[in-house]
Symmetry: C2
Subunit: 299 residues, 2 copies
């Protein structure tokens, strides 16, 4: 196993301007593991309830995801529902039911503990630290977070940030984290708090990679037919870490290449609800779109 | 003369989160001509009142801008004032005084009429058509517009769009123009109305170039110290057209290269209020940042 991913597994009810889907397989760990699976062997750490459909588990297996870290707990699976506004860049959460996720205690199976790459999806910083502590000698650790933890668990979050190699958060969270409205200055401030690399996720506007070497700019792959943006950031993060885990040493150049991979996988993810589109494609489609992407962004 | 630019000249009062400046030299033609001047000989078509400071005219001359098309009319120069919100991406207009701009009748001096490149800055489509009609045989024409004209002068705007080679508008306007929320689909719809090329300006998120050949993605140069975003889109458009006018045939590759030039000039423009930063730099700084930009966006 090259990569372990921990995060949420949910059944999402999503309303977009053109469609509505109920109880779609979602959650950060679903998107990230599916995305990573195109590049490297990935193991999942998450929890589902006893209502979790067997078909979803079968889909995870089709992606080749290792499920030894997938716990099943009595009760209902985490549920989220939200609605996207006309321009698909803004969403409103209608309801969140934590259910079994509320008492989630991520435990790494022994087979995961020597894994070199770790992606800490968006869960409480306390749980992120708990997972991090179970890995014997991680080579490269990335973490995501959200506004909730910035506001309610800052000390633990700072502990996470000080111990990861790469922090990947979205634009608003980067600003909030640093208390600085310019994202580049914000990313530089966060960089001083520990990570070697900071990635600012800007959704359909791409991403920025900030490190001691400077700033790299990665536009998003332009998608004409966005069906559902849910999970795009998680697919991006999973694709980045999968591509990094596939390669050798995570150098700056390797990270830049991995970000291109994450960008392309995320562009597929938004072309359907849930993991539907990712389930349709393979390495050939990813390589083809990567080549197209490279020819598009040459300046 | 390689390029003629028509547009507004204004004295702008701008409030940002950190500073306030009064009566700064602005307007689309000021920014566009200054930006274009780094690449090609450019002539200005605009109007100022009899209160227009001689120092501003002297600054135009320092940029090497041809001023034979600059009219002076009795009355006050156009004035605009606005305020930028905390994240610098949103601005509110506080006041607009058209003054001499209200009765502006752009007339091209004879020396301008054989000019091969034309940039129609954001003025009424009626005036844009009037200017276009005065050029003998333009080789490549670009136009900008704004929401006001989409709503109030659609027929004339459609006539402009049908006659230009390149339409450059911002993201919101592209959506409004096409009645389509996905910008790529919107740009494709506009493409069918006449232009060979459509550029979607996304401010700090860069630009998209859409043509029959597909979509090209150009991120913005990341600027850590944005002093004033006013005029960035105009500096971008001027830089693009200046770089195109410098070269030979405006092929797709030439346009992509020109967009990189426009991006870099715009990144300097936002580092100060008005034209202050553009007045400090020369070709060497632009070439240096272009090289830096190319190394940043390689994926």
């Amino acid at each position: 196993m090259r990569l372990v991913v921990v995060g949420s597994i949910g059944l999402d009810t999503v309303q977009t301007p053109s469609a509505r889907r109920e109880e779609v397989l979602g959650g950060s760990v679903s998107y990230a593991c599916a995305a990573a699976s195109f590049f490297a062997k990935v193991g999942m750490v998450g929890v589902v309830g006893d209502d979790f459909p067997e078909a979803h588990r079968a889909l995870y297996r089709r992606f080749g995801i290792d499920l030894r870290g997938l716990q099943s707990a009595p009760g209902r699976t985490f549920r989220w529902s939200g609605v996207y506004e006309e321009d698909m860049n803004r969403r409103r959460t209608l309801a969140t039911e934590l259910n079994v996720f509320e008492s989630f205690e991520p435990a790494l199976p022994p087979a995961y503990r020597k894994c070199p790459f770790l992606l800490l999806g968006n869960i409480s910083p306390e749980l992120q630290l708990h997972v991090l502590g179970q890995l014997e000698a991680p080579e490269f650790v990335a973490a995501d977070t959200m506004d909730l933890w910035i506001r309610t668990a800052r000390a633990q979050l700072d502990a996470v940030i000080s111990r990861v190699n790469l922090l990947m958060v979205n634009e608003c969270e980067m600003r909030e984290l640093a208390g600085e409205s310019n994202v580049i200055r914000a990313a530089r401030a966060v960089l001083r708090a520990g990570p070697q690399y900071v990635v600012v996720k800007k959704g359909e506007h791409g991403a920025l990679l900030v490190s001691a070497a400077g700033v790299a700019v990665i536009p998003a792959f332009p998608v004409a037919d966005v069906q559902d943006p849910t999970g795009a950031g998680d697919a991006f993060a999973g694709g980045v870490m999968g591509a990094l885990a596939r390669g050798g040493t995570p150098t700056l150049d390797a990270i830049r290449g991995a970000i291109a991979c994450g960008t392309v996988v995320a562009s597929f993810a938004v072309e359907s609800f849930g993991l539907d589109r990712l389930a349709e494609i393979g390495s050939a489609e990813i390589e083809e779109r990567l080549a197209q992407f490279r020819s598009m962004v040459m300046v």
